[in-house]
């Protein structure tokens, strides 16, 4: 069988498929949920005021991320 060089159409479709595989809702939603949970723990923990100071940014990133990734395909 002769070696066939990938055509531009092949490359484009495989990269689209790759992107589709990366941007799936489940794992990203889970990551965003973990970030929100982590932020809430940072907000209420009694150990370090530095963690408390960064809690809101963590929750905000998690929440905005959650809104974005919930539009990803299943």
């Amino acid at each position: 069988m002769a070696n066939e060089a990938p055509t531009p159409a092949h490359t484009a479709s495989s990269s689209t498929a790759e992107r589709k595989r990366i941007f799936v809702r489940g794992p990203w939603e889970m990551a965003a949920s973990i970030l929100i949970g982590l932020g809430v723990i940072m907000l209420m923990q009694p150990l370090s005021i530095t963690l408390y100071s960064y809690s809101f940014v963590t929750i905000l990133v998690g929440t905005v991320g959650y809104i974005i990734v919930s539009h990803f395909p299943e």
């Binding site: 939603e29 965003a32 949920s33 929100i36 949970g37 932020g39 809430v40 907000l43 209420m44 923990q45 009694p46 005021i49 408390y52 100071s53 809690s55 809101f56 929750i59 905000l60 998690g62 929440t63 959650y66 809104i67 919930s70």
Partner: protein, 304 residues
């Protein structure tokens, strides 16, 4: 012509199309939602970047950027109120889940008076938190309160000042919240228990599984999503708890029961730091919104 087309093409009330009629019904709700929810939310976010004080309406509003957020997120006092809130949320959730689950297991058994008992258990949940807070202040009175009398009768510890004592006041609010909201956890657990098919237990019976094994391998995994849902819902509710605690202790004695929401109200309407309290409110809102997103996800999982 199909039925569907007839419905689509038939003019509705007074010559209006069905679509126009639908908009007519929805528009007042949308306007109300925008006026009561969305506009104040956007306005609060705007004010959180200013030094606005609502008791000085004539004063020029100055844009301060992220200063209010920095003040809230570096304040050891606010950090302390967050920890008070966390203690309240965690202790109430643990106790309520334990009692609620046990009650659900008990109610799930068939016995005489089961329905009546369920109704009686559900009564506290149907009351207003402000009313509950107010009448529990009477029950907690050290000299005349029934609660103090019962504890003294059984433990002989003398009159208990549940609301006035620094050590007991946090427990006073935990007890009232548990009394009020355990039935909710029980209801959710009961729904979970009743959704478990009987044949699973019959199969386990044939396999000679004992009661503990049946609980561990059948009941617990099946009820876990419901428990998670209950914990998440109560967690969100207790995170923004206000009315019941205000009518019970008003955050006292000192600031031992001052939850984040109570401090927010103090800053906004007693110290009139509107910009600062708007930033504080935005932080709490984003937190509740984030938790709410997880809650919806968990709810969908339970549904499926």
């Amino acid at each position: 012509m199909s039925n569907n087309n007839i419905t689509k093409d038939t003019p509705g009330l007074r010559g209006l199309s069905d679509k126009s009629l639908a908009w007519l019904f929805i528009t007042p709700t949308i306007i109300l939602l925008l006026a009561i929810n969305i506009f104040p939310l956007i306005w609060t976010i705007y004010l959180s970047f200013t030094d606005y004080r609502s008791n000085q309406p004539g004063r020029e509003i100055e844009w301060v950027g992220l200063e209010n957020y920095r003040d809230v997120l570096t304040s050891p006092d606010v950090w302390g109120y967050m920890q008070t809130t966390a203690s309240f949320v965690i202790s109430t959730m643990l106790i309520q889940v334990a009692i609620g689950f046990a009650l659900a297991m008990f109610i799930n058994k068939n016995f005489k008076g089961n329905s009546l008992l369920t109704t009686i258990i559900l009564i506290p949940m149907m009351l207003s938190p402000a009313v509950v807070g107010t009448f529990w202040t009477y029950l907690y009175q050290p000299q005349t309160g029934v609660f103090s009398y019962i504890i003294d009768f059984f433990a002989d510890v003398g009159p208990l000042d549940m609301i006035g004592s620094v050590d007991l006041a946090p427990w006073a609010i935990v007890i009232v919240d548990t009394w009020m909201w355990t039935p909710y956890i029980m209801l959710l657990c009961l729904a979970g228990l009743r959704s478990i098919p009987e044949y699973l237990y019959e199969a386990a019976e044939i396999d000679r599984a004992n009661a503990l094994q049946k609980f561990w391998y059948i009941t617990l995994p099946r009820i876990l999503p419901f428990l998670m849902l209950a914990v998440l819902f109560r967690g969100i509710e207790n995170f923004k708890m206000f009315d019941m605690v205000v009518s019970l202790t008003s955050g006292g004695p000192g600031s031992i029961t001052e939850l984040a929401s109570i401090n927010l109200k103090r800053e906004a309407f007693e110290n009139w730091k509107t910009g600062y309290s708007s930033a504080f409110a935005t932080i709490l809102f984003v937190t509740v919104f984030g938790l709410g997103s997880i809650y919806v996800k968990a709810l969908n999982k339970v549904k499926s």
